[in-house]
Symmetry: C2
Subunit: 349 residues, 2 copies
């Protein structure tokens, strides 16, 4: 297998833009990781599985699988890179974050397919198509359901504290907000329940995914996914080609992780606007900054991309859904290209 | 838009087989249906969202969306049919059923893409990427978790009663079983929790999906999805081109639904082996048979395809994952072709 294709795909010329057909070799999925557990001692139940259907006695006891992670792949007929791009979503979300944006534009899954990468979108353990397991029998605690107010005012920074209102017309937002706020209900439809007890299970599944790729992977993560991506690189630096972290909510502790192991793994951190006005981010961002500085001190190729300082204002935490999502993707693509992680376009174009 | 493509895609010749690249115009997703609800009166919580991350106070009260359904589409550059194919999974499962089989073969999503259809795979309300809502605040009851024993011995009919064993070597199966039983743990990884209180929410989302397609849809359903598909056709017969039901677990009551409305909608029912030996199926299948007979009495084009009576033995309830899944898909494709739901291949081939 070679990274240089003699038959360039008909993706967008130069990787710019997000339109045009692609030649797809295969679309499919698998679950990775997980283990079989046995549920015991629970009373029997009864269930009618479909209207006008038979009554079905249910014994809840027995073997189930938990801790597995769903991964969907789209493989190109003629990829321009040998490096699979792994897209890891943030907390309370699943892989849908990388698909069509809430206002109906193509997402980053299609962007990077059109740019010539095989793309693997996963749903973290406990989220989306990974399924989830009962508590307290398997998980140690109860789930959290994200509210619109929390998303609007804190995690996603669409508006300042007190700006959320159930009636769309009465919501306030940050001036120049780039998130398509009129599609908030579509964005809320992407929320999925989350737990806070599954970090080890999730990290194990991600590490296994990285370990089983044929070539060094590019990890492109968002928010909670950032911590998992940064740690996956630390756990297996020889298996990772690059780590791109969109507003990671956490990072390894420089006192605990040896950044020197990552000298062969370029890192990019991307940040939007209004971080200092939101307590969660005001507290979280400096912890990540410390890891970036530890990477630099260790001689790692690490880039801290603060969009407002480059004159790009108004980005929310949903960088891949904001109205300039294609432009941000292009910035990421150019950063990857400068590190030769994609073959140049064929001269015949 | 025309159903006849002047540029046939490079899908498998004649629709037979499940290999080869496809020209894809777009891959994306959306959520359909659902409503905003407000959670009230719950005590506050605290959460650490990522190791070494900030402590995050959580107010569980506020607006959330529930009842939404996730739909992922793959649209071809040059489809051979104007009719979108909607794949609706069964109970305790999600859209992964239509992707790669548990033993790693291409699934029916790819089969029908290669045959020239745009394919939409949905996760029913409460399943997979549709997310789920808290109970008792939104849902009326608690979820069910499918056990391996229930799947093996009853719903999926891999072996007779008493044949499941946690140790793979000690499991017994029906003679000639076509399900790749050595991959049972991979199949178990696809299971997701289910409720029994969401049929109305689910039907509403499916009905809306059918109503919003540009052209009459082909509904291809499995198990619990069967009831939803048969009802969706009854609710909007002018919007449905055909209904293909793989072992539906239920069907409309002929005394309640007017089958004459479906005279323009061909129906196909497909059944595997060993139904009479499993109580759930021995009870469920005759209810579906009554609907098929009502369709025939009303002059509807309805086909009852009992595979064993055609000399095809050993199929489980997981028809789309059994080792002859491509051959069954081809049978479905031929049935659709006889009803002119796909353009003939271009003569130039």
């Amino acid at each position: 297998m070679t990274a240089i294709s003699k038959h360039p795909s008909r993706s967008a010329g130069g990787g710019i833009g997000n339109a045009g057909a692609i030649d797809v070799r295969d679309i499919g999925s698998f679950h990775i990781g997980g283990r079989v557990s046995t549920l015991r001692g629970m009373p029997g139940r009864r269930r009618v599985s479909t209207p006008n259907g038979a009554v079905h006695p249910v014994d809840p006891n027995g073997e189930i699988v938990s801790g597995q992670m769903y991964v969907q792949y789209v493989r190109l007929a003629r990829p321009r890179s040998r490096h699979p791009m792994l897209l890891w979503h943030g907390g309370g979300m699943c892989g849908t974050n990388w698909e069509t944006t809430p206002d109906g534009r193509p997402g980053w899954q299609m962007y990077f397919l059109r740019a010539g990468f095989d793309v693997l979108v996963s749903d973290a353990v406990e989220r989306g198509r990974s399924g989830w397991a009962p508590w307290p029998e398997i998980y140690e605690g109860a789930p959290y359901f994200r509210t619109a107010k929390e998303a609007w005012e804190e995690t996603f920074r669409f508006g300042p504290a007190g700006s959320w209102h159930p009636e769309p017309a009465r919501r306030r937002m940050h001036p120049g907000l780039r998130f398509p706020a009129e599609h908030m209900e579509a964005f809320m439809s992407q929320f999925v329940p989350r737990w806070s007890c599954n970090d080890e299970r999730t990290q194990a599944a991600y590490d296994l995914l990285v370990a089983t790729q044929d070539h060094r992977a590019i990890l492109l993560t968002h928010s909670q996914g950032g911590q998992f991506g940064l740690r996956a690189a630390l756990h297996a630096p020889a298996r990772v080609a690059a780590v791109v972290s969109l507003e990671p909510s956490g990072a390894p502790d420089p006192l605990a992780g040896d950044a020197r192991m990552l000298r062969g793994v370029p890192h990019l951190f991307v940040w939007g606007d209004h971080l200092a006005q939101h307590r969660f981010w005001a507290e979280s961002m400096p912890r990540v900054r410390r890891w970036h500085e530890a990477l630099l001190d260790a001689g790692v190729d690490s880039t801290w991309l603060d969009l407002p300082s480059r004159g790009i204002h108004g980005n929310s935490h949903a960088l891949m859904a904001d109205d300039n999502s294609d432009a941000i993707a292009e910035t990421v693509l150019r950063w990857l290209d400068r590190r030769s992680l994609r073959a140049p376009e064929a001269a015949s174009r």
